[in-house]
Symmetry: C2
Subunit: 284 residues, 2 copies
Amino acid sequence: MTAHTHQTAPTQFVAANGIRFAYRRFGKPAGVPLLFNQHFTGTMDHWDPAVTDGLARDREVILFNNAGVSSSNGDVPTTIEAMGANALAFIKAIDLKRVDVLGFSIGGLVAQEITLQAPELVRRLVLVGTGPRGGQGMETLTPEAQQIFGATYNKPEELWLKVHFTASEASQAAGREFLKRFLRRTDNRDPAVNEKVAPAQIEAIGKWGVQRQGSYEYLKRIQQPTLVINGDNDVIIYSINSWILQQNIPNAQLIIYPDANHGSQYQYPQRFVRHVADFLSEDV
Amino acid sequence: MTAHTHQTAPTQFVAANGIRFAYRRFGKPAGVPLLFNQHFTGTMDHWDPAVTDGLARDREVILFNNAGVSSSNGDVPTTIEAMGANALAFIKAIDLKRVDVLGFSIGGLVAQEITLQAPELVRRLVLVGTGPRGGQGMETLTPEAQQIFGATYNKPEELWLKVHFTASEASQAAGREFLKRFLRRTDNRDPAVNEKVAPAQIEAIGKWGVQRQGSYEYLKRIQQPTLVINGDNDVIIYSINSWILQQNIPNAQLIIYPDANHGSQYQYPQRFVRHVADFLSEDV
């Protein structure tokens, strides 16, 4: 298993909660594994191998598709709570006793839910390009997100140049490098998600995003050491939501990258890997 | 010179602008040296040897007292601009052609001024526990700062437990460790500042802190790669000012530490040294 990488790790399957979950695991089987929770409409192939292989140097990395997404069957639930419960069923089905959890975008909402529902299972938490319940501009897609997801592109993957990167020359150049890495795996790529995924995920995000008095109170219950990372100009989940997460989670560190949009970890993969690896291996 | 440390580096003197500047330099004489700009009423002895020696492992570190402070003679000016000009005179007097600049608190304001007045001299900038012109709560001392600096303490250095650390048990314990390190140097400590320093520095901070339309525009002129670091609960210069710095300096990274007040770098010295050293040695 250690010889496998992002490109070569076979897709495996495990049944739980009536769902057949697709997953891949690779990296150094030492210490606590790191579970990746993916963004809106994304599959296991939407992770950046520079990030996954980079983090797999010192730990085992586990990618999976949550229920109803791509190679996992079942339905996408319309609440983040149910997505968290499905992710937990998967974690238990592969018999993990302790896990570090990384979530990106909607995956960051699911990562929070996993932590709230099973705090004893989660050692450390990494929240990337995401936000709190009732965060700013989260009740519907932001105007920028509506424009970006509503547009058409010459090649479908060019959507991600707009979602994950800013308009600057440097950011777009980093984006084109990301697209090359992202397309590098050729064998057994995940199928694209079906047409039921986006509406269900949007409904779930919308319920999560409703602003209420005391929306952020639940964050006090996240006791795990947490690292919050985002770009300084995230137009999909506004960057200020990362500030709010840091200010309300008791033991959270915040890192904001310059000239970066929603996918700051793909713009600065080496820096991101160093920051996350340092955080996961730090004594305090 | 390489054999010297924070504890042993002799205090040297150089004349410029009619001022005799006191300074110490130590560390590995390789690459671009790092110049430290100190906080309100602080001297060279108020730096944490865990930070200065930690950063001196891979670069030369230069501490100095700006005009009118402790072992440097002359008067403390009542504007940050003039403090910046004095610091520049010092930099030129010791013949530096290129320098990385770190500033903490009022030293962070001076560090910004150095960069604005001589952009060609400054390679990278580290702004710790500081804020922008016209930042939030910077026009006068904050209510918390007034209370903390106005109180009396059993031992004078216990003031810094309140200024630099939060009320939590963990933060106060880190503070007591900091005080031990901070008192470790016994030979040739700097004399305490005279009674003219605090009023002049407060006047300068007050002028800098005046809120005006477009107060933050000048930050666009800071083109250097910049790292902004603060605690998440800074009551001396409110933490939100670090967010504002990041959002307005074109190429700035932000790192916020948990359960930390104004002196977050003294609470997490290893983490701080790692983050700053990575930033200063990074290719991009």
